[in-house]
């Protein structure tokens, strides 16, 4: 049986049905999540939600072709959760990172495109470490460290799950 095709608006409802990975996790606003998916995978992509361990992975496809996967993550900055999305292509290369909700008084520079752009094309084999292949932003160190670690973890998970067939 195949999953029914979901309009993007239903995506949020679908995601909401999954418990988040961390006890302190915050949800992404549905409109922001939908806009992010649309920007990364184009309009009208089919969105299915796969459940692996306790995580909800979005599977993006159009017709018979797989477009990639995405996962929403949360990391704690100075004291607030930063909600972000990591999207990968079918070859497990990172397509992009989107900051969905930023709640801290300082450090919002992690949402800047110029900073997020550094993650594009990364694979789980890359260090993805601040000061090595990711440059920091002065005055935003804590958020930069937190988001970088979060992206590295999610990319590693998605890659491992994809390679062992838990998502396909």
């Amino acid at each position: 049986m195949t999953a029914p095709r979901l309009p993007v608006a239903a995506l949020a409802l679908q995601l909401a049905a999954f418990p988040s990975r961390s006890a302190t996790a915050q949800e992404a606003p549905p409109a922001k999540l939908a806009a992010s998916i649309r920007r990364l995978f184009g309009p009208g992509a089919r969105v299915d939600t796969l459940r692996v361990d306790s995580a909800a992975v979005l599977r993006l496809s159009r017709g018979d072709s797989l477009l990639g996967f995405a996962e929403v993550g949360n990391v704690i900055g100075k004291d607030q959760p930063i909600t972000f999305l990591v999207a990968v292509d079918p070859a497990d290369r990172l397509k992009d990172v989107d900051i969905l909700v930023y709640r801290e008084p300082y450090g919002g520079e992690v949402a800047y495109e110029s900073w997020r752009r550094q993650f594009r094309g990364k694979t789980a084999a890359d260090p993805i470490a601040v000061g090595r292949d990711i440059r920091s932003i002065s005055g935003a160190t804590i958020s930069v460290q937190a988001v970088t670690a979060g992206v590295r973890r999610i990319l590693a998970d998605l890659t491992a799950w994809h390679q062992r067939g838990a998502i396909r």
């Binding site: 949800e27 004291d79 601040v130 990711i134 932003i137 002065s138 005055g139 160190t141």
Partner: protein, 369 residues
């Protein structure tokens, strides 16, 4: 068949962005050892700062942040030194993704250190002397303002606050406007002042410009009763750049005290009519060459500060050349993690009059979490 988890039928819809109240505790601190050259100057150790960070989030829009500081470990009546003070205490209301309203005890966004002062973020055991005598860090005043990013230009952010003003009676020759700060303690609002900042950031680079403008007369009729009586104007610029293992930073500031003559006549101080200067600092992470795979850092740095709290003096005030200071600091910062640091440095304190010059050896540790 691909295993799919179907969940179209959502029995109960969890509220999105539901208010999730949480309280967070954090902190930062620094302990210093300093030894000044010369006879009768034994080394001194001091728990310079111990700061508790306490924050509470009420819902997705409204949050409270505070920093409570103990300086010099303890406070005892009749003894000099020691301070317990609130460094920050404000409520943030997130109006939209781009605009946050802020009210409370806030940090004027001037220079680098005033807003970003956690010890692991700067080289050198103590903050630059410029950030004591010219920009009076940690500078905090009570007011309201907006914080956000400019939609049209990627990477451009701003902060703008209306806060209580400074009091001219605290101004001095040695430390400029420093003791004119009110710091949230029964502060007079006779001279509301404006302070703000524009900054542009991209990975590895941040440049900013900031200002403060406001009266300082505090309704002292000798200086004037107007809101902007005896005004000071501060303009500052700063830059931070990282490339490879190199880190460069610099700050310049100029403060005009328009009615310095009247202020000096009224309060007997000798505050300059212009206070100006800056510093540049270059650092290199030695582990970049020695251990490229390490996430630890060992920064070797040199900083040169040059400032004069009497860059100009009003007519009738004799300029004190010992206030034209030149400070060179060389040292090391070892950071086992990005938020802990062990520091050591050697400072050459010089001035134009060549009076009271000294060398200072310092060691220290710092943390933030």
């Amino acid at each position: 068949m691909v295993p799919r988890c179907l969940s179209l039928i959502v029995v109960s819809l969890p509220a999105f962005l539901a208010a999730q109240e949480r309280t967070t505790v954090g902190g930062y601190g620094e302990i210093h050892y300093t030894n000044r050259s010369g006879p009768n100057s034994p080394g001194q150790v001091n728990l310079r700062r111990f700061v508790l960070y306490l924050a509470h989030t009420f819902d997705d829009r409204l949050a409270f942040r505070s920093e409570l500081e103990v300086e010099d470990a303890k406070l005892e009546s009749g003894e000099p030194g020691g301070e317990v003070a609130l460094e920050q205490a404000f409520l943030d209301y997130r109006l939209s993704e781009r605009i946050t309203l802020r009210s409370g005890l806030v940090l004027p966004p001037v220079g680098i250190i005033n807003e970003t002062h956690e010890p692991p973020t700067f080289n050198g055991v103590d903050r630059p002397a410029f950030d004591r005598d010219v920009i009076p860090t940690t500078w905090r005043e009570i007011g309201v303002g907006v914080v956000g990013t400019v939609p049209a230009i990627a990477g451009l952010g701003y902060r703008l606050y209306l806060v209580n003003g400074l009091k001219a009676e605290g101004f001095s020759a040695e430390q400029g406007i420093r003791e004119g700060r009110q710091e949230g303690k029964e502060a007079s609002f006779a001279n509301p002042s404006l302070t703000g900042r524009l900054e542009w950031a991209r990975p590895g680079l941040k440049v900013g410009g900031a200002f403060w403008y406001g009266g300082t007369a505090n309704q002292d009729s000798v200086l004037g009763n107007g809101t902007f009586a005896a005004p000071i104007t501060l303009v500052a610029a700063d830059a931070r750049y990282e490339v490879g293992g190199f880190m460069l930073r610099g700050v310049v500031a100029s403060i005009s005290v328009s009615d310095a003559q009247a202020i000096d006549a009224r309060y007997g101080g000798t505050v300059g009519s212009r206070i100006a200067g800056g510093y540049v600092e270059t650092a290199y992470n030695l582990l970049r060459s020695l251990a490229p795979a390490s996430s630890q850092r060992l920064n070797a740095f040199v900083r040169h500060e040059r400032y004069d709290t009497q860059a100009s003096v009003p007519i009738g005030i004799a300029k004190n050349d010992s206030l034209a200071r030149r400070i060179t600091t060389i040292g090391l910062s070892y950071k086992p993690t990005y938020n802990t640091v062990f520091k050591g440095d050697y400072q050459l304190l010089r001035n134009k009059a060549r009076v009271g010059e000294a060398e200072v050896l310092s060691l220290g540790l710092g943390y933030q979490f």
